[in-house]
């Protein structure tokens, strides 16, 4: 995740001065966060040292849902403006969001083992996050098909509609799952003591900021990759028109000879 040492004169890739700065900042932030999360913050009274997993779990969860919101907003903007950038952003956010959702699920599950005694509990948040994961997989699968089908339509409508419905769906799922569990069982162990303070609170905040930086870095790079994918191999419309019209000349020459 380091930027190239020297910017070669030729094809450079997806990094720019800004992202290199962001990358360095993220790496430094991660080092600092590791120090706080693993060494300098105290263990929790109830969760003991398992609480140290919260400093990666909670920020990734927040960012996963943020990514989801970005995809929905980008899809809405694409439907309004039909500009390529919004289309690319929707996919980039969903892909990065998928990675963060995966990490969130894995760390949550690992945390659950020592705390709850099980890797999986039908906790509302686990259930709805898992469904979010599958929703994102489905959205990305649909987009990849959209890319290959060169139909008459400005491709992307299907993806945009599913993207637009992503956040509402996540919210409905979350709400219903939440309601489902809370009606039938008393609240599970609260994941993080709401009255945490001092170093632990600071570490959590730091985690949110640092993973936010990492998220931004990944999103920018993934956006640029998507942009390049759109452009790669695409000749401009003018060039394509010239080539298409040239068929007439070829046919005429063939007909006369």
């Amino acid at each position: 995740m380091t930027a190239p040492h020297t910017a070669p004169p030729g094809p450079a890739g997806t990094s720019s001065r800004a992202t290199r700065g962001l990358g360095v900042l993220s790496l430094a932030g991660l080092a600092l966060l590791l120090g706080y999360a693993l060494v300098w913050s105290p263990p929790d009274v109830a969760q003991k040292d398992a609480v140290r997993l919260m400093y990666v779990h909670v920020p990734t969860a927040i960012l996963a849902f943020t990514a989801c919101a970005i995809t929905t907003v980008a899809s809405a903007m694409w439907l309004r403006r039909r500009s390529e950038g919004w289309w690319v952003l929707g996919g980039a956010a969903a892909e990065v969001g998928l990675v963060f959702t995966g990490i969130c699920l894995i760390t949550g599950s690992i945390w659950g083992r020592p705390t709850w005694g099980t890797y999986w509990d039908w906790d509302p948040r686990i259930t709805s996050t898992t469904l979010l994961f599958i929703l994102l997989v489905g959205y990305l699968a649909l987009r990849s098909i959209d890319n290959e089908a060169g139909g008459a339509a400005p491709r992307g409508m299907r993806g945009a509609i599913v993207g637009l419905l992503l956040l509402p769906n996540v919210m409905i799922v979350h709400f219903s799952v939440d309601w489902w569990r809370s009606l039938h069982q008393t609240a599970t162990i609260t994941r993080l003591d709401p009255t945490i303070e001092g170093t632990m609170l600071f570490t959590l905040m730091l985690g949110i900021v640092v993973f936010g930086l990492v998220f931004a870095w990944l999103l920018i790079h993934r956006f640029r990759v998507g942009w390049l994918e759109e452009r790669a191999g695409a000749t401009g419309l003018d060039q394509a028109l010239v080539e298409r019209r040239a068929e007439a000349g070829l046919a005429a020459a063939g007909g006369r000879s």
Binding site: G150, G151, A152, P154, R155, A234, L237, A240, L241, R244, R245, A246, E247, A248, G249, L250, A251, A252, A253, G255, R256
Partner: protein, 228 residues
Amino acid sequence: MEPVVQLHGAVTLLGRFPALAGIDLEVAAGEIVLLRGPNGAGKTTLLRLCAGLLPVARGQAVVLGHDLANRRQARSLRRRVGLLGHATGLYDELTVADNIHFWGRAAGASPTDIIAALTACGLDGRLAGLGVATLSAGQRRRTALACLLARRPELWLLDEPHGGLDQDGRDLLDDIVRQAVASGATVMLSSHELDRAAALAHRVVTIVGGTTDALDPLPTSEEPVLVP
């Protein structure tokens, strides 16, 4: 009177491919225009464009007064045109009569129009009650033609209408087209049955490479007249 079809430098993309790369074409009311050109020249795309199914990426396209650059206008154009394409859009599970009733009523045709269309295409009687799945290719085309006739379109767009039809069917089609024109409709068709289609058409337009650089009059010489 304003031309029914006005295309000026019209460009239409299929994905990124410019299937139409600048079409200039005007079709007056009551005209029968034959489109010809090699496979992949853009004839089908042009007919679909005129039906309001495809957007114009560049240039101007106005059909029956509807500007195709405007999505809403393109959509409202569709109920005024009839497109007979390679695919017939018929439901295999339903009978001939069911299909014609459904598509006719969808376009707001009256029951008398629908019955008249059935009769005109020789589909009354035994054929009407048959399932479309059991029909031959030619009978399917006839059924699709009847669906089209029931709509009473102002602009007929016929993509290879003679294909798959027997001799009677072709004569029937030509009659129906002539009657439609006599009652004020305009027709654009593509065909590889050049002799038959040329006899029907008032004018031939050649399309190659998605352009109409050549507008040649009837009758055509043996050698295709093409402008490089």
